[in-house]
Amino acid sequence: MAKVMSRRLFWDRTFTVLLWGAGCLVIGLTGTLFTALFWRALPLLHRQPLSELLMGTQWQPAKEAFGFLPFLIGSLGVTLTAMAIAVPLSLLTAVYLAEYARPTVRLLLKPMVDLMAGIPSVVYGVFGVLVIVPAVGKLAAFVKTYLPSVPLLTPSAPPTGYSLLAGGIVLALMVSPTVIAVMDEILRSIPMSLREAALALGATRWETVRFVVLRAGHPGIVSAVLLGFARAFGETMAVVMVVGNVPSIPKSLFDPAYPLPALIANSYGEMMSVPLYDAALMLAALWLFLSVLAVNLVAQHFLRRVRRGWAG
């Protein structure tokens, strides 16, 4: 009997050690990740100060000119475009699914949205190249002909369709399912009694949503948007296939851009042949890592607060 007992305790203790080992491994690996990137980026950081790198506009690795500004602006531009499209669409869809749609409709549509979230980025890229880029190209030609000098809209060079806008549209499609899923969860967690109280006062369904439900779910909605932003900022494959990849600062929606992830992906082949090129790319990766991590942590923090609010 005692032998059985001690064997049971042995397994219990071993198991506990394994669990703690796994936890420490995760922390250790994350630290290694960060350290590896930082260490490989160091040679460049030694040579040029960070501010110069971030504000420089010339990207010519052969001449050791590593100006990241075009890429930072490209990344920001593509992401903001994507969010400008995705947020209204996602919010409207999420409100529809959570508040208006009949149960059968919702049962049909929600799995589809979840499915969309699982489609690989290269597949979105193919769709982008085959459908979105030509469409944007035609639109760009139209704009260039009829609106020759509208800032932010008129393309500066003969438009090919590979542009900021194309990248933004593809990203919007990619990011929307995730954002919708989070918003949907938030909206459905708001108690029915809140809505009933508003309706009882004579509000229309939309007014209930606008003044009561959305206000109640506000922090969660913001978190969803932030999560989408982080996801879009770091998305690589689909964007690199449609965005043009020209290292200059885009001056219009129809100009090509070159977001950071695309830079890293494209430079794969040449990285090792030019000195300091790989350090620059590691720096870009590090920048991506930290900025996305920061946005994510903020978003998750709010999301956890919202979720805990319901339990409490």
């Binding site: 049971r8 305790l9 397994w11 219990d12 198991f15 506990t16 669990l19 703690w20 080992g21 796994a22 936890g23 995760v26 922390i27 994350t30 990740l33 590896a36 990137l37 490989r40 669409l89 409207l92 869809t93 529809y96 589809m112 499915l115 969309m116 699982g118 489609i119 690989p120 980025s121 290269v122 597949v123 979105y124 193919v126 769709f127 085959l130 459908v131 499609l173 007014e207 999560l227 982080a230 996801r231 770091g234 690589t236 494959m237 992830p261 890293i264 992906a265 794969y268 090792m272 790989d278 790319l281 590691m282 990766a285 991506l288 996305v292 946005v295 994510n296 998750q300 923090h301 956890r304």
Partner: protein, 283 residues
Amino acid sequence: MTWRRRQERWMKVAMMAATSLLIGSFFALLTVLVVKGWQAISWSMVVKLPTGGAYFGGEGGILNAIVGSLLLAVGATSLSLLVALPTALLLQPDYAGRKKFAQFLRSLLDGLWGVPSIVYGACGYALLVALGWRACLLGGLIALAFVELPIMVRAMDEALGIVPKAMKEAAYALAFTRYETMRHVVLRQALPSLVTAVLLAFGRGIGDAASVLFTAGYTDNIPRSLFDPVASLPLTVFFLLNTPFEEGQRRAYAAAFVLLVLVLAVNVLARVITKPLSRYIVR
């Protein structure tokens, strides 16, 4: 009065328009891919290896990529599972759940959840260079495992958290050790959700390109060891989509099509498998 009703109606129209736009794009995507893919796919495409010069329109199929993707995804998911499940268990209140350590770990994993896979790829590359290795299956496996880890841990954490506290207490009251409670009660109760978590991560793993771009290499052959380079479906699409040669393009569309089919299949599997796995669980 009517202005408010009109606003209600307009908003409803807007909502349905937005939803239709998104769902419509989804169907457009499926249609385009199925049409292009169907044209490109053939039995030989799926079972033959490319005979070289794929970019220039050489002969052969995409078997290298299909097998490669499966190797990568299965291997990475298994690796990830080995670390994710213990970590998720550690986060439970039975172990570290209430201490600050668990909060820290959870926040860390939350942050990692959104890290773009290209970062993992770049990092993996840095490590490969430091070790003096070439891009290979092992590199791809590790980078991909990193991508899948936060997804798996979070899904598993949620699955384990739903197990009722009273059920665990009943086990402890019967003199179960923590290990025994986890293994025989908690894992059984959470099994369907845990399996779904694994499948979810697997689906992500087949489709991810950015992490394997630098770390797995590319080749026309099927790797014979962990240190050989390996092809993958997403990279086949990425590399071959823009070739001027039709043969190369066909391979890209075929790869995209196979990828889509695989991802949808995993999704369907996840839904179908829940019911039989839930036979004994307590609701």
